[in-house]
């Protein structure tokens, strides 16, 4: 049986010719014992090296997944080298301000990055006892987020959107405006694009450029016309850099990953080719665990200054929130910001649906000493009132608005004001948390005092109708 030295000697071997190529998968037989998830180099006839990893290893054959696609590979002419190590990337602070492909190779024309620190892109599970519970409020300047679905440093808060909705605008706005109050901390942004269009990538680059933060951004682009399989590694390389920046360089990192739906589709593609038993809608049974490996890499660690806040974006196929991708994401992430097409149609930006949106970490990051003492109750009351508005609207659509009681009419007024003034804002509007809360009271004061069950008398005294 091979020990460590023999293993490393064997890893120098090169195999000429492969047995089978199926989509992005290459099958090689009669190899030395190859480790699971080892890094593989496939050299085509022209001498180009394509990277891949071992998906399955057995005494008979090795299954290799090639990230840069298999087109142009031939059965006899392909040479395969197994490195004996998992896929790593060299990471450094100098990577900020640059553009990479999904594997972490520069595509901006600059020199390859140099660093002594090479990290396994798969990362490792954070020990739950080492985590620091996130509770620092991030002001995004967007009322519906700050006031009702507060973003917390170290949180993973996805945007559930649909095709044609302004999720990119919102993500860019958050990246521009996000700040921790009372400190000067700048966010470094790590941006991972999976299967998105060139225009989208350009939109983000431009938006970072205009706000002058481009030198704090590292972009990992695996665009729509890149091999779909590369998307599987893109978020991992991006997150590996984010971990390095956060926990070795003490930086606060905001990771934007778009579009998670494309990532999941690539995963489904591989799974189908391998003939695995599918669970829902053809997605593999391990989709949940796989997504968790990505999402759970964000957070804060005790004793470390940096943090990773992640903002994955996913488009819900057919706007269906129960589709496996948003559904499983929602079970892992700490809340979600859900977009509503109907609100977008009415010209409300950001079209954040009031009720299904949620921030799970909000409760510990708001209130006295963090935002303002009235924040928790105000948010809860706004939710309750808006939820009643929805009921009234349903009722009105059946019996007609004229038949409603005067109180219900007041609620409709409240609903309108809430959407038009509180939720809706300009794409360059940066509201402070006080402005947001005051605005909340302003619209809430449309309702009579008797209706405010979730607010204390002192708060009513102090803020109602002011």
């Amino acid at each position: 049986m091979p020990d460590k030295t023999t293993k490393s000697l064997l890893s120098g071997r090169e195999y000429i010719g492969v047995d089978k190529i199926d989509g992005p998968l290459v099958f090689v037989s009669k190899t030395h014992p190859v480790g699971y998830r080892e890094l593989v180099e496939c050299v085509d006839k022209q001498g180009h090296v394509r990277l891949g990893i071992v998906l399955e290893s057995s005494t008979n054959a090795v299954v290799v997944q090639v990230f840069e696609g298999t087109s142009g590979l031939t059965l006899p002419g392909t040479r395969v080298r197994f490195s004996g190590e998992p896929l790593t990337i060299a990471v450094s602070k100098e990577m900020l301000g640059r553009v990479f492909n999904g594997l972490g190779h520069p595509i901006d024309g600059g020199p390859p990055q140099r660093s002594d620190i090479e990290l396994d892109v798969n990362g490792m599970a954070i020990n739950p006892t080492a985590r620091q519970y996130p509770r620092d409020f991030i002001q995004t300047g967007i009322s519906v987020i700050d006031g009702m679905n507060t973003l917390i440093r170290g949180q993973k808060l996805p945007i559930f959107s649909g095709n044609g909705l302004p999720h990119n605008e919102l993500a860019a706005q958050i990246a521009r405006q996000a700040k921790i109050r009372g400190t000067n901390t700048q966010f470094a942004v790590v941006f991972a694009a999976m299967g998105v269009k060139h225009d989208v990538a350009r939109f983000f680059t431009q938006s970072f450029e205009e706000s002058g933060v481009l030198e704090n951004v590292a972009l990992f682009l695996s665009l729509a016309d890149d091999p779909s399989i590369e998307r599987l590694i893109t978020p991992r390389t991006a997150l590996t850099l984010a971990e390095h920046l956060a926990f070795n360089e003490d930086m606060h990192v905001l990771v934007i990953m778009t579009d998670m739906t494309n990532y999941c589709e690539s995963l489904r593609e591989i799974s189908t080719i391998r003939g695995e038993i599918p669970s829902r809608k053809g997605y593999p049974g391990y989709l949940y665990s796989d997504l968790a490996e990505l999402y759970e890499r964000s957070g804060m660690i005790k004793g470390y200054k940096g943090s990773i806040t992640s903002l994955p974006i996913l488009t819900m196929p057919n706007d269906d929130i129960s589709h496996p991708v948003p559904d499983l994401s929602g079970y892992i992430t700490e809340g979600q910001i859900v977009f509503e097409r109907e609100m977008d149609g009415r010209g409300i930006y950001p079209p954040v649906a009031g009720l299904p949106s949620l921030s799970r970490l909000m409760k510990d990051g708001i209130g006295e000493g963090m935002t303002r003492e009235d924040h928790p109750h105000l948010a809860s009351q706004l939710f309750a009132a808006y939820s009643y508005v929805k009921d009234v609207r349903n009722l009105a659509s059946v019996i007609g608005e004229e038949e409603l009681t005067p109180l219900d009419h007041t609620y409709l007024d409240f609903g309108r004001e809430f959407e038009q003034r509180y939720v809706s804002q300009r794409k360059d509007e940066d509201r402070s948390i006080e402005e947001t809360l005051d605005l909340g009271w302003e619209v809430l004061s449309i309702l009579p005092v008797d209706e405010l069950h979730r607010i204390t008398e002192e708060e009513i005294e102090k803020f109602y109708g002011k």
């Binding site: 057995s58 929130i321 929602g330």
Partner: protein
Amino acid sequence: MNDRIIGQVKRVNGPVIEVMGITDAEMFELVRVGEENLIGELIKLETDAAVVQVYEDTTGIAPFDPVYGAGMQLSAELGPGMVGTIYDGIQRPLEAIREMSEIYIKRGITVPSLDREKKWHFVPSVKEGDQVSGGMFLGTVRETENLLHKILVPPGDKGVLESVTGEGDYTVEDVIAVLKTDDLKEKNLYLMHRWPIRVQRPTRSRLALDIPLITGQRVIDTLFPVAKGGTVAIPGGFGTGKTMTQQAVAKWCDADIIVYIGCGERGNEITDVLTEFPKLIDPRTGRSLMERTILIANTSNMPVSAREAGIYAGITMAEYFRDQGYDVAVMADSTSRWAEALRELSGRMEEMPAEEGFPAYLPTKIAEFYERAGSMETLNGDNGSVTIIGAVSPPGGDFSEPVTQHTKRFIRCFWALDRHLANARHYPAISWLESYSEYLSDVVSWWESADGGASPEWLCDRTEIMELLHKEVRLQQVVKLVGPDALPDTQRFILEVCTLFKNAFLQQNAYDKIDAFSIVQKQVKMLHIIVTYYKRGAEAIKSGATLVKLRKMKVYQDIIRMKFSIPNDDLAGLDKIEARLERSMDQLEALHA
């Protein structure tokens, strides 16, 4: 013990490894794979295609790597030192792992589950020459201020004690007694013993379940009570508050020990428990809640197969405390992740799937798990219980999926979480229409007895309010068609009372100091006040009073705020509200008489 090679790796596919050249391995044997000593378990035996599921990441494992047998099944270590500890899915203390590998969990780490250095003060209760058998007490160790840890003879052992040490300080590995078994072998007994996690610990008999587990959550205790030793499922889509409900129950329920199994869930949720629980004070003992809690954390990004093991490790620890005569509550969050782990492993073993890719043995596994709950007469003759509260995360919030459906067959109490309630931030979002409890009739006598709620009218009040809630649904349908104005005052009053009941009683703020937890007496009185308001109000309307008048009563505002304004230790305020309510109603009736 790592020297015995039982085979070699043949094929690696994620956490599932095929092993060839099997020699004398035993089914479900604990094994270690490769030079890195990854922990695994043998789950299928075949000479050239045995299957090992590995509880750690298998990156780098290659064919022909050796597989070592440990000579025993995957077992939990049971003894003093478990309470207040946080374990991973295979009972390794995470704090100890952190000392060895900092912020990440590196592979191949071996740490004993119980601290080997720490000395415990042992007080024997047996003496030399005593005839003992499995489950009997050897003595006690005071583990925390309020927990007397009883040291058990391992179940299955029987014989005469040849020697017993005196009172003193011992580690879990020091011999505290020597047992001469019936077949004349000598066996050393320690403060701890091992127990295979997949095997239910034996008891004498099952007892009737007639004492409720009081959770302090009004919607649970009053509407859908669970008995000590019962089984509950909490299904709900994401964001409906499964974890919040479970944590609230874990905080305030009147069990002696809580085993909280975080199975495939968020890392920060575990951190939340770890930061919050030590600060919270148990209202019954006045001590930190952490002193009665055992945590198992196998978060979603930790190896999948350990999720499966974590559930069994947790229930085994719970049974161990039950055998000492304690009431234990197990929170499993979430059993769906465990079922998905089964599915993933089954898929990798290329087994034939049943519904939605889940293996055909899923219902059997679920049944085996929930059947380990119960109120038991222990081998020592005491009463102890294990209550299981399992969260279910149905995809898309659709309760017709296999895990929810199969779970429903084996539990007797169902707290369905409702998306609409959660969206309106009505917490706990337990639906009063879909939920049920089969324990209701069993626990009524407790509520009526002096040891319990001491409320003879409890059942009547509860029935009354449930009836109203069901009437309300039908009335709401009418309202949706014709608007509320079309209803007569008597019916609109029902809608009013239901809204009042939902806001003032069912909704409970987990973050409010007073409201977070309601003692039984407070619940009984609050319920009675609202039912009285309904009964007297309905009579007043019959005699000509208007809805507006009923609503404008000063006492109405007191009723709405009573959950926040009246603390558990001063319930006189509720009597005052009730008296005021009766007076106001008298006045109102006098006006229309």
